[in-house]
């Protein structure tokens, strides 16, 4: 027996197997992101990402555009920003469900036993969020442009337009991903999140202009983040000047909250 043990290191097997080493952040994230994307293709979430904004655009545009255009103006130009932002909210809600499924299925425990950076699973999920936002932007812009939406600003303004939508979806998804990771019953949470989604989309300057609201709620309507983003996106699309301080502050704040939520959720995961 002692000889067998003594012989083992000198036998050929150790030289053929690679020494154990940890996987770098980039390859680990790429693999996990690919896995998330193929899971989304299988579950049909990709279809929802592209056609969700198309359906919502038609749902609001068809019955409301005539009344809006009586007062002059192009409703497609007006509506497209809020449709893209709403798609960002839906991406965030889907992120809760997906993180919750992983948490329930014990995926996180398995990930933590692997020699990968601890943030890689998180980055993998967020990579899918960015891809999903890209798909959803494609769907929303396609239907918007078909009915009269135009990016009339410079190339830079158009790129900032796209970036702003992606940052919005990403920052919110960081928060909801953390919620889904910590809370187990994420299906119920997703249906509860539909209510703030509804309030933020409807009670904003995205569908109708602020003067259409009763006076008591106008301060909220004008200053809530969806309105701030919708106004900024509209200015970028039209190529007009706008005060961008508010939207930059909101973006930084949302990203900071998302980062904090991610750290808190990550710690809760390790302690469990």
């Amino acid at each position: 027996m002692t000889t067998a043990v003594g012989h083992a290191p000198t036998s050929s097997s150790p030289s053929t197997t690679m020494p154990r080493s940890s996987v770098g952040l980039v390859p680990a994230t790429a693999t996990l992101a690919r896995q998330k994307i193929s899971a989304a293709i299988r579950s049909g979430d990709v279809v929802f990402a592209v056609f969700g904004p198309v359906v919502f655009f038609l749902c609001f545009y068809t019955p409301l555009h005539r009344q809006f255009e009586l007062g002059g103006g192009n409703y497609a130009q007006f509506l497209t920003p809020i449709i893209l932002l709403q798609a960002g909210l839906f991406t965030a809600i889907t992120a809760t469900e997906s993180a919750g499924q992983d948490a329930r299925a014990g995926v996180h425990e398995r990930m933590m036993s692997l020699p990968i950076p601890r943030v890689a699973p998180f980055f993998g999920r967020m990579a899918w969020v960015v891809v999903r936002m890209g798909l959803t932007l494609g769907g929303g812009l396609a239907i918007g442009c078909a009915l009269g939406f135009r990016l009339q600003g410079t190339i830079v303004e158009s790129l900032v337009f796209v970036a702003l939508v992606i940052v919005f979806g990403l920052a919110l998804s960081m928060v909801t991903d953390a919620i889904g990771t910590v809370a187990r019953n994420s299906v119920s949470i997703a249906s509860v999140l539909m209510i703030p989604q509804l309030i933020l989309v409807m009670a904003s300057t995205g569908l109708v202009t602020a003067p259409a609201f009763p006076a008591w709620i106008q301060p909220f309507v004008r200053n809530q983040p969806m309105s701030v983003y919708a106004d900024a996106l509209r200015a970028l699309a039209a190529g007009t000047d706008l005060e961008f301080t508010a939207v930059v502050l909101w973006s930084v704040a949302l990203l900071a909250i998302g980062g904090a939520a991610m750290v808190i959720a990550g710690r809760a995961q390790v302690k469990r």
Binding site: S43, G44, F48, F51, G52, V55, F56, C59, F60, T62, P63, L64, R66, Q67, N185, V187, S188, S191, V192, M194, I195, L198, I199, M202, A203, L207, V208, A212, F213, P214, I217
Partner: protein
């Protein structure tokens, strides 16, 4: 001998009693499921508040009556639609955990399972509609046609709920899963926006107006409007009943076979 004497005689359970017991058990378990409560009651309440706040003035100015009546009718049906999707998810859960199979072995008439389910859907919608009417009253909703007609309006929503629940149960049990139920979500969303309660039918493009006018929600909304604000009742009510009966005739056998399949699978 004493054993045989103390053992109560086996006797058939009437289908009605079985249905009521099944329905009340379902309602109790649904009331503890946050997903179902949110989709049946809480979400419709917020939807009504938002529709009125954001679009109320605009839609009223389009003509076709005060928008609160159309919106209240619409949102009561939305609770029926999206609530039934949530209960379909719980039905799939009951199948996967084997509860349906256990119930299937009980010595009770089997049609009672489905009848009880539909009864529970109707009662769920009835409760949600009463809550919605209570929320709508401060917003300007009134029973202009009297309380009896108002109760009739609640019954209309309940009839609609039964008609919608049959194809959803068929879908959930035959097409084996959540995927199918989630696709219905998108379809119901279209129904939600393309009907005569969200905006007057005349606001939709001409080629779409027949679809908007005769899809199942519009006649039911018109009936609720007729029984509360006033207006024609007989014709929209007839179309609503026709839709419900038609959906039961077409999807009833599918739902029954699907339910049997779901209960016997394991």
């Amino acid at each position: 001998m004493t054993d045989a004497a103390s053992w109560p005689a086996r006797q058939a359970v009437p289908v009605l009693r079985q249905s009521v017991v099944q329905a009340s058990a379902l309602l109790r378990s649904w009331s503890r499921d946050p997903g179902i409560v949110v989709q049946s009651i809480v979400f419709p309440v917020f939807l009504l508040l938002m529709f009125q706040l954001v679009l109320g003035k605009t839609v009223t100015s389009m003509g076709g009556g005060d928008s609160i009546f159309g919106n209240t009718g619409l949102v009561a049906l939305v609770g029926a639609l999206f609530g039934t999707l949530a209960t379909a998810i719980s039905l799939i859960h009951e199948r996967d955990t084997g509860l349906l199979a256990r119930m299937w072995t009980l010595p009770v008439p089997r049609p009672g399972f489905l009848v009880g389910r539909l009864l529970a859907e109707a009662v769920r919608t009835g409760i949600a509609t009463v809550v919605l009417f209570a929320v709508a009253i401060p917003l300007g909703f009134r029973f202009e046609q009297g309380i009896a007609a108002g109760i009739g309006a609640v019954l209309v929503a309940m009839v609609f709920a039964v008609g919608i629940a049959v194809p959803v149960i068929a879908m959930a049990t035959v097409a084996s899963g959540r995927q199918a139920v989630q696709q219905l979500n998108g379809f119901f969303l279209l129904l939600l926006f393309f009907n005569g309660g969200f905006a007057p039918v005349s606001e939709y493009p001409g080629w779409l107006q027949p679809v908007v006018r005769y899809q199942p929600m519009t006649p039911a909304i018109d009936t609720v409007r007729g029984l509360t604000e006033g207006g024609p009742v007989a014709e929209p009510l007839a179309i609503t009943v026709l839709w419900t009966v038609g959906l039961i005739i077409v999807f009833g056998p599918v739902a029954f076979r699907g339910y049997r399949h779901a209960a016997e699978r394991r």
